[in-house]
Point group: C2
Chain length 205, copies 2
């Protein structure tokens, strides 16, 4: 089977970052590609009745400890950004624009490069990716035309594309970041990637 | 190191059941024993600001799907009980009584046997383990004296022991079921048992 794996994530989600560093290798192992799909947990939480993880008593403290521990386990750099959580609207719209304008202004792999660069800016370099100017600088750092992207971010069709993508995610039952979807099977959590790998190996169970 | 692994669980928690079937093998592999510690999520949720998993929109539906899928993955029988969630006060007190009265009326392994029997009664045989009479019948089925246990459940010191245990769990930062504690390191979730295994293998990271 050659269909892609849908990888839903909020750029503000630490577990989204952790999983983003592993998903491509898992997909590739099974002859799949990754469809990067940013979502906005703020909008989803209104439907799901949840709140940002770190705001919960007890669970929030555990999460802060676990983000760092889980990053150490897979040997990737991680530090909690000073501004957290952030609204990743600009960065997410930027992905929609990259999808809409690929082949035209750049190839598909630019989106992958941009996703990794934004996550790194936030979780390694402590940059406030909630700020559209920061998003544009990150884009520039991976050779994406900053002015074209700025125009894209202001484009109503791009704003609508993100809104539609978030609603489609909700309609699909997605409530958290990351969520990996393999042939309509949802797996929530960065700690489920091994399960995703086994699912792909066995073709379900 | 020969200290035990603390395994905190709510009998009403499906993920607690799933993990209960795997934790002994992991502990044994690393020369550890399992300290079964029932907790009451109802009391903990008051502190943590959470609610039973299945009551959340989206997340609840996912959870129901995931309970069954995760059980299939590890090849154990599972079906959602008709009455869910249940208040597992009686079953949890019964564990406190078994701990308090071991060596005296029975050996330590009886607690392990009882924990598995209660989980099976609930998740395999669809019995309402919220009912104290059901708990006593399950006890009887694993050769525990039913009348002695009934007296134990009514004993104020046993009631207090459970209350204290739940408070101690909260003080330790525990907010969900199952939580596995290895040398003061908390791991929340049945999907973290592989991580617990790796942690024990490497001695942390």
């Amino acid at each position: 089977m050659s269909s892609s794996i849908d990888f839903y994530f909020d750029f503000s989600s630490p577990y989204g970052y952790l999983a983003s560093t592993r998903i491509e290798a898992i997909a590739e192992k099974h002859g799949r590609s990754v469809n990067w799909q940013p979502i906005l947990l703020g909008a989803i939480f209104k439907v799901s009745g949840q709140a940002p993880l770190t705001t919960y008593p007890l669970r929030g403290d555990y999460a802060l400890h676990d983000f760092a521990r889980s990053a150490r386990e897979i040997n990737i750099p991680f530090s909690m950004p000073d501004t957290f959580p952030v609204g990743a609207v600009a960065a997410s719209r930027a992905c929609c624009w990259l999808k809409a304008s690929s082949d035209d202004q750049h190839d598909h792999s630019k989106l992958t490069e941009f996703v990794h660069a934004i996550f790194k800016a936030f979780y390694v370099h402590n940059q406030n990716i909630g700020d559209a100017d920061v998003v544009l600088s990150v884009a520039e750092s991976v050779q994406i035309n900053k002015d074209s992207m700025a125009a894209g971010l202001a484009d109503q069709s791009i704003k609508d594309a993100l809104k539609t993508a978030v609603q489609e995610a909700i309609d699909r039952g997605i409530f958290g970041s990351p969520t990996t979807v393999v042939d309509d099977e949802l797996f929530w959590g960065s700690d489920r990637l091994d399960q995703v790998d086994r699912w792909l190996s066995r073709g379900g169970w």
